[in-house]
């Protein structure tokens, strides 16, 4: 086994072959992995969205149909994209023509790394019919637009029809209050031999903090920052503890609810629409999508916006702007909805042909937006790089209060200090649903 015979000549020959092969292989500095090499005139479109293989492929097809020129679509991790821009922009050697990302990603890049797109934004908004809140978002708290809204999404509840059997009578599944939601979870757990069937995405990549921030808080307190430590907030956290006790414990590992929903581990799950899409794909008839529950103050829901931006000093900006315009056409955006599950930001009529799973979601989203007492919540604005740390405040509060059962008020007070520190450092003014403020938002 050990000292097997080997021939020195073989080794030398191997070495010789390698010596020749390497320069040959590496001659061009590598082979393009994003399809067809980055030849002259091709636009490089780096995006933190549509990373999974199938989604990326479908989006490449959409791009091809929507825009004449050649585009390299490069899915990227948001941290890597940040590192690349931070290196490229100051060195004035920008290789990326267009970046696509969530509001949070783009806020992290901020005015330092992005071009001012105010005039393009004004031009497109004439026909697009954006909501005003979008314009506010794209300005990153500055007054100039740094990105163009691209698509949007929100959060809904996916329900397997089995779970409807356990829905206590008299409840309307399309208009549940948080208390009814809890009653349902308890009834379902009892009926399932004590094993919970509700799930939440509390994994490392999961979006549970959006549930706290954009759904629970607005519904119970009417705000998310100015009411952070209020008495209503304490009630909300007490409720959260009870709800969690009736959720599958493995929830701490769920990043995307579609997985446990599809495998049947979970029957009712709350998540981002694009992260639920796979669940009803096989048997849409077995599924229903319903709005998030409502609380004492109304039905809070978070709207997530993705945008398109041009890195500061990028070459070929005129062509890139054409590409942006092409992506903002209603037809293009409807195709994105149909294939990848993100909703249009421009006025588009999506009553037409849609895949069944998307249709389920579209109904739930419309019900959410149109319901009485809907409270639109936005992701943090003006926090720039600290955006991620804002999420951490809600995540850490969740870990302390719900998982470790520490004192609610004390935890909130401690986290409020961290939050105020972040806001003071960035001078961010309040955003919806908190009332607008002059000067930095006060954590209450």
């Amino acid at each position: 086994m050990a000292n097997g015979t080997f021939s020195r000549r073989d080794l030398l020959r191997l070495g010789g072959t390698l010596g020749v092969a390497v320069p040959a292989l590496a001659a061009c500095g590598g082979v393009s992995t994003s399809g067809g090499g980055g030849g002259e005139g091709k636009l490089t479109f780096a995006s933190t969205q549509f990373k999974p293989i199938e989604e990326a492929d479908r989006f490449r097809a959409i791009l091809k149909a929507a825009y004449q020129g050649a585009v390299n679509y490069v899915p990227s991790e948001s941290a890597q994209l940040t590192a690349q821009l931070k290196a490229q922009v100051p060195a004035k050697k920008v290789k990326i023509h267009l970046v696509g990302g969530l509001h949070g990603d783009l806020a992290t890049f901020g005015p330092d790394l992005l071009e001012d797109l105010s005039s393009l934004s004004a031009e497109i908004s004439k026909t697009a019919g954006w909501e005003d809140s979008f314009t506010q978002l794209t300005q990153l708290g500055t007054g100039k637009a740094y990105y163009i809204p691209w698509m949007q999404a929100t959060y809904v509840v996916a329900v397997h029809k089995d779970a409807l059997n356990w829905l206590p009578s008299g409840f309307d599944v399309n208009d549940l209050s948080y208390d009814q939601f809890l009653d349902w979870a308890i009834a379902a757990r009892k009926a399932n031999r004590g094993k919970p069937v509700f799930g939440l995405p509390a994994g490392p990549e999961g979006l549970l903090h959006r549930f706290t921030q954009g759904h629970l808080y607005p519904s119970y307190t009417g705000g998310m920052v100015s009411t952070f430590t209020s008495a209503e907030a304490v009630t909300a956290w007490e409720y959260f503890r009870e709800l969690w006790a009736n959720c599958v414990p493995s929830s701490t590992r769920y990043d995307f609810m579609q997985e446990p929903l599809a495998s049947g581990e979970v029957k009712v799950g709350w998540d981002h629409v694009a992260r639920l899409l796979e669940a009803p794909k096989e048997n849409p008839g077995d599924w229903q999508m319903v709005p998030s529950p409502r609380g004492p103050k109304g039905r809070g829901y978070l709207s997530i916006v993705a945008g398109l931006a041009i890195p500061k000093g990028a070459p070929d900006q005129n062509r890139t702007k054409d590409l942006i315009k092409a992506l903002c056409k209603p037809d293009t955006q409807l195709r994105v909805l149909a294939e990848n599950g993100f909703f249009p930001v421009v006025d588009a009529d999506f009553s037409g042909e849609l895949p069944p799973a998307v249709k389920l979601e579209a109904e739930a989203v419309t019900r959410t937006q149109d319901s009485d007492g809907a409270i639109l919540a936005l992701p943090p604005i003006g926090l720039g790089e600290k955006d991620g740390q804002m999420g951490k405040v809600y995540k850490d509060a969740f870990t302390a209060i719900v998982l470790k059962k520490e004192d609610i008020k004390k935890t909130l007070d401690a986290q409020a200090k961290v939050m105020q520190g972040l806001i003071d450092e960035t001078q961010a003014a309040c955003w919806a649903p908190d009332p607008p403020s002059t000067g930095p938002c006060k954590v209450g």
Binding site: M1, A79, T252, G391, K395
Partner: protein
């Protein structure tokens, strides 16, 4: 007897220049970053404060040390046992060696995915239990830190024992057989021979393995993250978290400096305490 010549320095020069250029300089800027260099605050200790105030930091220090303390002894016993089995020249030992060495080339990303397929609630382990009619166990439940640690230790044991094995086996090959045979003739039991002959002779190899494994163990986090999500934080994982998700390179650097300091101290202690007298005498 040290030779006074420039030859060693000439031989070292390329690697030293290379490292200083591509590693030394970025490290220095990284360390400066932990103290606020390049930020708006100027020279400051506030990032260290922020790091120390974060409850996850202390949890990750505890977990990292716990993992190393549990993993390394088990791992070394297992590796020595495996090496002894190979030395016993069983039939198929070539095949055994191959299979035992494979994880050497498996990345931690892949190892995490592999073990996830086993430990998840509806994974292969619970499936097997179910076939035998037993109830599934919630292996990765955050409410049971012991079970979580067990799962992470098992997966890390699988992934990283082969490095120790390879080092120990090659060390064993260099041992002269006469000592062992002499001890056998003198009537020593197998245990006595292992304890008083083989292990002392293996010390240099074990030292290399120990230093390398400890330093690499500080770097491990992908497996734990794949298995437990955010519920079993490790130090390097926290660096990534601060850097990647929280985009705060300053705090990330502070955590990285902590890792650097702990691994350097451990390495120096190992080098001091385990330095073999024979090696010193040889020159």
């Amino acid at each position: 007897m040290p030779r006074r010549t420039v030859a060693p320095y000439l031989l070292l020069a390329p690697s030293a220049v290379f490292l200083l250029m591509l590693f030394g300089w970025p490290v220095v800027s990284g360390v400066l970053q932990a103290f606020g260099y390049g930020s708006t605050l100027g020279f400051t200790s506030s990032y260290w404060q922020r790091m120390a105030d974060d409850p996850r930091f202390w949890e990750s220090v505890r977990n990292t040390l716990l993992l190393i303390l549990v993993l390394l002894p088990v791992q070394f016993c297992l590796a020595i046992g495996m090496a002894l089995l190979l030395r016993a020249r069983l039939r198929f030992s070539g095949g055994y060696f191959y299979l035992w060495a494979v994880p050497l080339a498996v990345s931690d990303l892949a190892a995490g995915l592999v073990w996830l397929s086993i430990f998840t609630d509806r994974g292969y382990l619970n499936s097997m239990l179910a076939w035998f009619g037993a109830d599934g166990v919630d292996w990765l439940n955050y409410q049971s830190p012991t079970r979580m640690l067990l799962a992470v230790v098992l997966a890390e044991l699988w992934r990283s024992t082969s490095l120790v094995l390879v080092i120990v086996v090659s060390g064993m090959q260099l041992l002269p057989r006469d000592y062992d045979e002499a001890a056998q003739v003198l009537g020593a039991t197998p245990w006595q021979r292992l304890r008083h002959v083989t292990l002392p002779l293996l010390k240099p190899s074990l030292q290399v393995a120990l230093i390398l494994r400890t330093i690499l163990a500080f770097q491990a986090f992908a497996v734990a993250q794949a298995l437990t999500g955010r519920q079993f934080p490790l130090l390097i994982g926290e660096t990534y978290e601060w850097y990647v998700n929280l985009s705060d390179p300053n705090v990330a650097s502070a955590v990285a400096v902590v890792v650097l300091a702990i691994s350097m101290v451990t390495a120096v202690i190992y080098l001091r305490t385990l330095r073999s007298p024979e090696a010193e005498a040889r020159r």
